[in-house]
Symmetry: C2
Subunit: 162 residues, 2 copies
């Protein structure tokens, strides 16, 4: 993941926007994600998953915001890039797992993360970006220039690994 | 993609359910997808994309239904598997690009494709499967055991590859 994919300015008010790094485990990446949903993992699990994602560098783009003074991850979001056959063998970017630390809300950090992911998607040549959200977040994403498209449906599975 | 991931029976009424193969270009894979959206591509583009997806064998699972008499692809669907940090570094399956040839509708082929993709997702240990659809398709996916979860939002981009 080249940092040239990121949108300037990457540093505002002592907050830097950059790609996830392996040292972010110590900077509270897990604690940030836990404000979205269950996201506890050990350092070893983090390193294994991080290494797996690194092997698919054109698929996973995880942007974090760090408070440089506190050396703390205060927001993050993922662009997960799908290679399709439709749309002239086009690519579609899926925006996933957007979260802003609760003590930093109201400062447009979520908007900045989405701007970064959108910028990356454009640079990669994605023909569209999609995301799923709750009704209560529709207005936020409209501010990020997204439009309502359809219905998200889900099926929770018993985990039965091979 | 091991065919052992597929759900039995894979062959019913001279229709076989299996993973996409490189010979499916000649069997009308593009023509099938075109009934969903713009999906024209040359044989060379198909082979290039197919080869790219093969390099990510734990990410892309494309199931097709073939009419064995006609040697024709009559339905297809994709499971696109995302490795996350949340949910104990869990995996989420995205169901994409489901289409059934219009002359074969009403025969439960769409249901069979979703059953195959769900079965694969279970075998892979996905904690959930998600998909986006129009309001008019909600009832179909409810029959496939999916539930309404949220709102899908999209942003169409000008394609500006690096």
């Amino acid at each position: 993941m080249s940092s040239s994919l990121l949108k300037e300015p990457r540093e505002i008010d002592e907050i830097v926007y950059r790609f996830l790094e392996i040292s972010d485990f110590e900077k509270g990446f897990s604690e940030c994600l836990q404000q979205l949903t269950e996201a506890k993992f050990t350092k070893s699990q983090f390193i294994d998953r991080y290494s797996e994602l690194k092997k698919q560098p054109d698929t996973y783009f995880i942007v974090v915001a760090e408070d440089l003074k506190k050396k703390k991850i205060i927001a993050c979001g993922t662009l997960f890039v799908e290679k399709k056959f439709i749309r002239n063998c086009g690519t579609c970017g899926h925006i996933e797992d957007i979260v802003v630390d609760k003590t930093y809300r109201g400062k447009n950090l979520g908007l900045r993360i989405i701007e970064q992911l959108t910028h990356i998607g454009k640079k990669l040549g994605c023909y569209k970006l999609i995301l799923d959200c709750s009704d209560s977040n529709v207005k936020f994403y409209e501010k990020c220039l997204f439009e309502k498209k359809g219905v998200q449906m889900s099926l929770y599975l018993p985990m039965s690994k091979l």
